[in-house]
């Protein structure tokens, strides 16, 4: 009997994936545990292993196929001893298993039905990870008109979005990848030479999450200069004594200082959740890692509990695997606070967009020598400018300032954060 290979759910939130590459071909024998395909999710590429032995009978989803829903049959294996050419390309269902004589005929209406319902289902699931309460009719009308439900306020029971709420919404220019709108985009850009590149899942997730952040979280920005000569000296001293293979980076020290500051000012380690504010117990710090085609934010869980050596090894491992696209979903999901460091590019200072649903993000600029005034005299110091973007729904200005003060204290007196 044949075996269906389905699009696996590689993370709890994964709803669809892209078959990046097949590592098997029709007719090849596979064994349980063999890597058969690479699947790209919104943030990582992962290898999929076969859980059965068999011979590849059909590959139903070509490499490069995007937005394949979890559970979709992507290939069919023939079991040992079964002739490959007798296997139908129609996925076997449990019912068909019991009645092998049933011709694998699908009603004429089905393809259209499947197409229609999966399109709607995928769309609503992909819209946002937060559940939106809307009536079926409101969803249907919104989909027809290309109106995003997450921008609407519901007037129904418990804030449910009703038909009238959708109808009252301005007919927003639909961001739909339909042939029509693709043409429209092409023609509007036709004045200069350009090309259209389909947005990767990661690009779409970045777009929707950061747009949601800027729309929903009222950002404010607080900036402070930190003198880091002592910190750099401490780093040199530490690295001289560090065990082989451990090289503590300036970024590691910044993460350590941020973790300590989050413990010292717990009011800044929070997330706004409509009726509640979530207060995190640990400094679960995400670090933004630029990768090909986007970025990913792996989490250093309970960073405040880690010694510098362990922290350094963790960050190096996460960054390296992030760049190779080998992070597991659980490793980049969650976190209470994010650090984005563009210092290595010589950026003096910048402001970052909060990584929702977190309450704040720290943007770290380059450490550079600048003239500073000490006791009325001009002198030179290595200065690093950092900017905290905070969600004002959860964090007030004074809290943000206190946090920066604490952070600056740890950075400028590194002995205090090494305890």
């Amino acid at each position: 009997m044949s075996v269906n290979v389905t699009m696996p759910a590689l993370s709890p939130t994964m709803t669809e994936g892209t078959v990046a590459k097949w590592l098997i071909a029709v007719g090849e024998t596979v064994h349980s545990g063999d890597v058969i395909a690479e699947i790209e999710t919104d943030k990582a590429t992962m290898e999929v292993e076969s859980i059965e032995d068999g011979v590849v009978a059909h590959i139903l989803v070509e490499a490069g196929s995007e937005n394949v829903a979890v559970g979709t049959v992507i290939a069919i294996l023939a079991e040992a001893g079964e002739a490959v050419d007798t296997i139908s390309a129609t996925p076997v269902t449990a019912a068909a298993d019991e009645a092998p004589e049933t011709p694998a005929e699908t009603p004429a209406e089905m393809p259209a039905l499947v197409k229609e319902t999966t399109a709607v289902a995928q769309k609503s699931m992909a819209e946002t990870s937060k559940r939106i309460f809307a009536t079926p009719l409101a969803r249907r009308i919104a989909a027809n008109k290309g109106i995003a439900l997450d921008g609407l306020t519901g007037s129904g029971p418990h804030g449910r979005i009703l038909r009238r709420d959708v109808e009252a919404a301005p007919a927003a220019p639909a961001v739909q990848i339909t042939p029509a709108s693709a043409n429209a985009m092409a023609s509007s850009a036709a004045t200069g030479a350009s090309e259209l590149v389909a947005n990767s899942q990661m690009r779409q997730v970045i777009a929707s999450r950061l747009q949601q952040s800027k729309q929903q979280a009222p950002h404010f920005y607080v900036t402070v200069d930190c003198q880091i000569d002592t910190l750099l000296a401490a780093r040199r001293a530490l690295n001289e004594k560090a065990p082989d293979g451990v090289k503590i980076s300036l970024n590691d020290l910044v993460i350590r200082a941020a973790a300590m500051a989050l413990m010292a000012v717990p009011d800044a380690n929070v997330a706004y959740e409509d009726t509640h504010t979530r207060r995190f117990q640990h400094a679960d710090i995400c670090m933004a890692v630029a990768i090909d085609g986007g970025l990913v934010t792996p989490v250093i869980w309970a960073a405040e509990t880690m010694g510098l050596a362990a922290l350094s090894q963790t960050t190096a491992d996460l960054a390296s695997r992030a760049r190779q696209g080998q992070l597991r979903a659980a490793e980049y999901t969650g976190g209470s606070f994010t650090i984005s460091n563009l210092g290595m590019f010589g950026v003096r200072e910048f402001a970052a967009v909060i990584n929702p649903p977190q309450g704040a993000i720290l943007a770290v600029g380059a450490g550079e020598q600048r003239p500073v005034v000490v006791d009325g005299a001009l002198t030179v110091a290595t200065v690093m400018t950092v900017t905290l973007s905070a969600d004002h729904r959860a964090i007030d200005g004074a809290v943000a300032a206190q946090w920066l003060q604490s952070f600056k204290g740890f950075v400028e007196n590194p002995v205090t954060m090494l305890l």
Partner: protein, 464 residues
């Protein structure tokens, strides 16, 4: 005596008024209900409820004729009309007592009086009662209901020319009866009297009976009535009516022959009880016998509201109750309240066969510019209906082809008045065809015909 002040004074204790009073109490408001006659209003005392008791008797009488088919032999059948009417009155009395209890339980005082709205005060209005006392209220809700409309030159005398009120307490059965008006009230009396052996002629000025229903429903009921031996005249207006001691002669327009019968029931609609309420000199507007309100019962005069039949059609108890709740919640500062949407009020007619509907008729949906899909499923394809021996009728559904919205549902047949709530919930939750199709309807039930009708709208009916 110091004047008693209430947050809300409700004039009228029918299904609009008493419900408003209870809702006000639930919201912590100090409310009073002023009723001149019976709590429960027309609905409970002279409308919905006692007629259902009578129609049940007629239905049981009819079922005896079908006993043979079920293998049951019945001897001589006699009708004890006084007992039948007495039971109907007992049912009404029991429910009226129930309303008294409900108001007491919710600590809503009831004043037995008629009321007139008096002068504005700093904190509301005066309300003058027929016993001479004066109370005051921050908000006054008029829920005085309506009464039978008469036609020019045709005055009901209560003996030969009846309104619903006399028609539901007959002392004897006439041999023949003319019913003028074929809305819900006319159709129900036609069905009742016909089942008890009276020769019925139903006269309708419009082109079909049950004119507010979908035309397919009207046609089906007309055919069923005619099969039962009723005489149905549509597109006919009365020219004159002469009432004798035991006969009524009706002259019709056009070249229709005169009609003669022992009695006549006028069921040509109702008009609001807007008189003697003290509305002169206020900004309250009255249009053709009904008080004009916004979607929450507010009239043009601040502090004066109106709900239910007195505000106009549809004249239905459940509409009045819902308006009462909305009005009180609005007064209490409720958020996210929505006025009753067009087509949200289901309508039920308890003739045989029963009729129930909600939303737009096919003609209205097309006229409103919808591109539609319609489904139709006959009870002849429903196992439960066949087992009951009552398989005449159908379920018609109308969907918007673009959005899948259930625009309307129209049913005729066994117990459809109990089934329509399913479609009402679907509409209230804004379900589309997809959710209705995905719902599992229990077997064997009449409700399966609803599911099949939805499926049929998308050419997917299984059993037809």
């Amino acid at each position: 005596m110091t004047k008693t002040h209430y947050d809300i004074a409700v004039i009228g204790g029918g299904p609009g008024g008493y419900v408003a009073g209870i809702r006000a109490a639930q919201l912590g408001l100090n409310a009073v209900v002023i009723e001149r006659e019976h709590l429960g209003g027309i609905c409970l005392n002279w409308g919905c409820i006692p007629t259902k008791a009578l129609l049940r008797a007629a239905e049981l009488r009819h079922s005896i004729d079908e006993m043979q088919a079920f293998g049951i032999s019945v001897g001589d059948v006699t009708i004890d009309l006084p007992a039948m009417v007495k039971r109907s009155r007992k049912v009404a009395a029991r429910l009226s007592a129930g309303v008294t209890h409900l108001l007491k339980k919710n600590k809503v005082p009831v004043i037995e009086a008629t009321a007139t709205i008096g002068k504005p005060l700093k904190n509301g209005r005066e309300v003058h009662l027929s016993d001479g006392t004066v109370i005051s209220a921050s908000h006054v809700i008029i829920a005085t209901g309506a009464r039978a409309r008469s036609l020019p030159g045709i005055e009901p005398d209560g003996k030969s020319i009846l309104t619903y009120r006399e028609a539901m307490v007959p002392q004897d059965m006439p041999k023949s009866l003319i019913i003028v008006g074929s809305g819900a009230i006319g159709a129900e009396f036609a069905s009742f009297y016909n089942d008890l052996g009276v020769e019925v002629t139903l006269v309708e000025a419009l082109d079909r009976i049950l004119p507010v229903e979908d035309s397919d429903i009207s046609a089906f009921v007309a055919k069923a009535f005619e099969k039962r031996g009723m005489n149905i005249l549509t597109n006919v207006k009365l020219q004159s009516v002469t009432a004798g001691s035991d006969s009524v002669l009706a002259k019709l327009d056009g070249d229709h022959p005169d009609l003669q019968a022992e009695r006549m029931i006028l069921a040509v609609g109702i008009i609001g009880n807007v008189e003697s309420l003290g509305l002169d000199g206020t900004a309250v507007k009255i249009d053709r016998g009904h008080i004009v309100t916004d979607g929450f019962g507010a009239t043009a005069e601040p502090g004066i509201y109106a709900i239910g039949d007195v505000t106009g059609p549809p004249w239905l108890a459940h509409k009045a109750s819902h308006e009462g709740i909305l009005c009180v919640e609005k007064i209490a500062g409720g958020k996210d309240l929505h006025a009753i949407a067009d087509g949200a009020v289901p309508g039920c007619t308890y003739c045989r066969p029963q009729v129930a509907s909600i939303g737009l008729t096919e003609a209205a949906a097309t006229k409103a510019g919808h591109s539609i899909k319609t489904g139709n499923f006959p009870f002849a394809g429903n196992g439960k209906a066949i087992a009951l021996g009552d398989d005449a009728g159908f379920v018609k559904t109308i969907f918007d082809a673009t959005t899948g919205e259930l625009l309307g549902a129209h049913m005729v047949g066994p117990e459809v008045t109990e089934l329509i709530q399913g479609f009402a919930i679907a509409r209230s939750l804004e379900a589309t065809e997809a959710e209705l199709m995905a719902t599992i309807f229990p077997h064997p039930t009449l409700s399966e015909a609803m599911h099949e009708s939805v499926l049929d709208a998308y050419d997917r009916a299984i059993h037809f």
